[in-house]
Amino acid sequence: MNSTFDDELLKQARQFDLSALTAIYDQYNSGLYYYALRLLGNRTMAEDCISETFSHLLQALRNGGGPKNNLKGYLYRSVHNWVTDHYRQKATLDVDMDCELPDSHPDTDVQVEHNLACQQVRTALQALTPDQRQVITLHFLEGWDLAEIASSLHKPIGAIKSLQHRGLQSLQKYLLEAEKVKL
């Protein structure tokens, strides 16, 4: 999405222009939903997350806050923080067993195996620091480039590379340990 267009939408949204608010929702809700779903593994919670994220945006705008620019980065950070809080409050999350593969894969074994692998990565991701987790999920799950992540997190690109490197290292370590326990 063109950032100038986003800025224009934001300007109108601050004046509580309903069409601008609707345009923002329609533009981002789907991407944010799948981002939340990948991190949570539960469709109901992903819907709750989206609902609260946009409600939070409305309240922030009403109080004169909200994003100054980079609306997309703001919304993804909000979702990320929501998920982090949720994991903090609840040690284990209920995972939908049919939410991972498109349209319930015909082979149940494949689906179960896929779900378990995803859940393992999800648990390992929670062991990273929030910044590392955000960099890795945005880069590898959402396909953002590092410059875009740097702009969203307000950090220099060197710091993002370093976070990615350290995050992947930790992830590799946690997954190897999980494999050992499994064996």
């Binding site: 309903l18 789907s30 939903y33 469709r43 609902s51 991972e100 997954l175």
Partner: protein, 375 residues
């Protein structure tokens, strides 16, 4: 053999596997959208006139100021004062923004610290002050981590500042009502754990400069001490307050000289780097004392609180004696039992900053805003 994480195909494949998900339930999506639109419509009704009226008020206020020089041509002082305000605002405002990313060895760094101290001294709400200390301590941690990563040695002033900010955050939390204290301590605990993990992952190895390793270990000890206090506060707020009170009393009894020593140390530091090295060597003994102290505290807590208070006082005296012996300026190596720092997870806001320099004799500064090490 260990594979570079970026080049580990299995790891990358496992991450990419997560990109595949089931389609969204259209009914649930429609319900979420409808709820958002309903909330937005309600707000449109309630909120839309306010920004305009607010804007009108501002425009009226600005209009008065802008119109004043024309009407008051006989008052040249007003023009001069307005010009000075604008010039100073531009100069310091721009500089302060630029200083926010500076590192301790940069020219603009003192401006960054000054702006942090100003923000704290202008905030009156304890919760806001707590959040500021938390965020500023996180900045100090990041500065120290960046320096260690680059093979540079953080100065003693930076270390003292980190410790003071951690202590101030905990002191402020302890002054809150119990339910608020609990929430603040949970936040503090999360931050400390994240920072400890960050420090643990710092890429230093056996061949690194021993001074760097010492600093890293010292920071980790600080973090662990804070974490320990935090956990004790989560178990019993009263016990935490008692511990902080004891520490404060000890500081008042024996700390005055030490605080002056800190100030002198800060002033002399840039001129005398050898002193810094001596202090680093003495650090080992300080850290050992801290560990002993923590062990004693844990044992004492298992007995009873009264006895605990007495033992802790004795331990703190021992600790301060150790410092006095170890440093020419009276104390200060300060990996003492200090409180922690933090950042801010729940809102997507940018981080804020930290406070000032310190009363770094390893214990809490009773003044939350306590910059400059005044007793």
């Amino acid at each position: 053999m260990k594979t570079e994480p970026q080049k580990d195909p299995i790891l990358i494949e496992r991450l990419e596997k997560m990109q595949v998900t089931a389609k969204r339930d259209p009914h649930a999506a429609a319900a979420t959208r409808a709820a958002f639109l309903a909330e937005a419509r309600n707000m449109v009704k309630g909120v839309s006139p306010r920004p305009r009226s607010r804007l009108n008020d501002w425009m009226a206020a600005i209009g008065v100021v802008l119109a004043a020089p024309k009407k008051m041509r006989g008052a040249p002082m007003l023009n001069t004062v307005l010009t000075m305000i604008v010039v100073l605002g531009l100069a310091f405002g721009g500089g302060t923004v630029a200083a926010q990313t500076s590192q301790p060895d940069d020219t603009l760094y003192p401006l960054k610290i000054w702006s942090e101290e100003t923000r704290i001294s202008f905030s009156s709400d304890p919760e806001t002050k707590f959040q500021l200390h938390l965020q500023f301590a996180a900045r100090r941690m990041e500065e120290i981590r960046t320096m260690l990563q680059a093979g540079e040695l953080p100065s003693e002033v930076v270390m003292l500042r980190l410790q003071t900010q951690m202590e101030n955050a905990l002191n402020l939390a302890a002054q809150m009502p119990d339910d608020q204290l609990h929430a603040s301590l949970l936040q503090l605990q999360d931050r400390l754990q994240e920072q400890e993990m960050d420090m643990e992952q710092l890429e230093l190895n056996e061949d690194s400069d021993p001074a760097l390793l010492q600093i890293r270990d010292r920071v980790r000890t600080m973090l662990r001490d804070q974490l320990h206090l935090c956990q004790s506060g989560l178990e019993s707020p009263e016990m935490l307050r008692e511990q902080l009170r004891n520490r404060e009393q000890n500081q008042l009894q024996g700390g005055g000289q030490g605080q002056e020593g800190n100030l002198n140390q800060e002033q002399n530091q840039n001129q005398n780097q050898n002193q810094e090295q001596n202090q680093l060597q003495n650090q080992d003994s300080d850290d050992n004392l801290n560990q002993e102290q923590n062990q004693n505290q844990e044992q004492n807590q298992n007995q009873n609180q009264n006895q605990n208070g007495q033992n802790q006082e004795q331990n703190q005296e021992q600790y301060q004696n150790g410092n006095d012996n170890g440093s020419p300026s009276g104390d200060s190596n300060g990996a003492g039992p200090g409180p922690g720092d933090g950042t801010c997870p729940n809102c997507p806001c940018d981080g804020c900053d930290g406070d000032g320099t310190g009363s770094g004799d390893g214990s809490g500064n009773p003044e939350p805003g306590g910059n400059g090490g005044k007793p």
